[in-house]
């Protein structure tokens, strides 16, 4: 049955692939394009592109794939299935973490983890910048302005995101006419 297969494919990818949404994309591709042939390669690429212009998680492309396979029910099933395993693991781990926190070794572990978290965030920012901004200096300037607004002036993220989208749109239209 397609619906069950759909749920299993997405739950499997959600349960075993580490490293965030982007890393999971090739695994999903292998299953839904190569293995089951639910989507053509072009449709898959377009599904990911749509996922990226949609706010929220990158993996919301699951909605597209589910819809293609089994309509609205498929969309709901695929979307929930891809997030369900890590939802369960995260909530269970959060529960353990609050209990273990008073242990000095665990507290030390968490203090050691903080620098890794900071490094991980900087690295994530660099790799997103590399893949989607390139070395385009107006975009890097835009990033710097957005960062200043967020950190220095504590501007609401909503306005920063909207503003950056509008500025990016206008930049393209004014700088490269036609």
């Amino acid at each position: 049955m397609n619906l069950l297969r759909l749920a299993l494919v997405f739950a499997k990818v959600g349960a075993v692939v580490f490293g965030g949404g982007f890393v999971m994309i090739p695994f999903i591709q292998r299953e839904v394009v190569q293995h089951y042939g639910w989507l053509t390669q072009q449709q898959f690429v377009d599904a990911i592109a749509l996922g990226q212009i949609t706010p929220g998680p990158i993996l919301i492309s699951a909605t597209f794939i589910g819809y293609k396979v089994q309509g609205l029910t498929g969309a709901v099933v695929a979307t929930l299935a891809v997030f369900l395993p890590s939802f369960l693991m995260t909530a269970l781990a959060a529960r353990q973490l609050s209990r273990l926190r008073s242990n000095p070794r665990i507290a030390g572990f968490l203090r050691g983890v903080l620098p890794a978290v900071v490094a991980m965030l900087v690295m994530a920012a660099i790799s997103i910048a590399r893949s989607s901004l390139g070395l385009d200096w107006p975009l890097l300037l835009l990033t710097l302005i957005a960062l200043t607004l967020l950190v220095r002036f504590k501007v609401d993220a909503v306005y920063v995101v909207l503003g950056a989208g509008v500025v990016g749109f206008l930049m393209e239209h004014w700088c490269r006419p036609g």
Partner: protein
């Protein structure tokens, strides 16, 4: 009882309705990892529901577990604030805006066979995502990298990440160093 590090929990747990409101906002404005930035601004900077270190623990957890990072952090925040109900609500509220928009785009795509061309706006949005992620790094780094050892560890970790070190291994290795060297000494007198 010996004095242990007491984690001051949130200043007043939010209601489920407040939590849903915040998550809908995060889901509607954060793009990918950008959600971590919006979430941090709402939950730590603006509302002080969680301390910097508690939020950072969620990020560490998200890296150690499979699945998407930003969604895991949102689930962690929900669980910390309101248990299972909070975690479930956070996941669903986070997904609703994306699901509705994606469904509309999918139906339009299957009818017209075209992806809207939004290159310029999309690049601008990504600039905001990079800024949001860096803002979280800055705030967590500033408030919680207190000792020289932690700053050194962050530098080494960043270098290793640059050289494509596995992030799960990196988080575990840094944690291990912390467990051995950075654990709090039990104090003789409680303040």
């Amino acid at each position: 009882m010996s004095a242990r590090i007491v984690v001051t929990p949130s200043r007043g747990s939010p209601s489920l309705l407040q939590l849903a409101h915040v998550m809908l906002k995060v889901g509607a404005t954060g793009f990918g990892m950008g959600m971590v930035g919006v979430l941090h601004q709402e939950v730590v900077t603006r509302r002080a529901w969680l301390a910097q270190e508690e939020f950072a623990d969620g990020l560490a957890l998200a890296n150690l577990l499979p699945g998407p990072i930003a969604v895991d952090v949102a689930v962690y925040v929900g669980y910390r604030l309101r248990g299972w109900a909070g975690a479930t609500l956070c996941l669903l509220a986070l997904l609703v805006p994306a699901f509705v928009i994606m469904l509309a785009l999918t139906i339009a795509y299957l009818r017209y066979g075209q992806v809207p061309q939004l290159h310029g706006a999309f690049k601008g949005l990504n600039a905001a995502v990079v800024a949001l992620v860096l803002s979280v790094a800055y705030r967590i780094g500033k408030s919680s990298l207190k000792s020289a050892a932690q700053v050194a560890l962050a530098t080494v970790a960043l270098g290793a990440a640059f050289l494509h070190a596995n992030l799960v291994v990196l988080v575990l290795a840094c944690g291990l160093v912390g467990a051995l060297l950075l654990h709090p000494r039990p104090k003789a007198v409680a303040p």
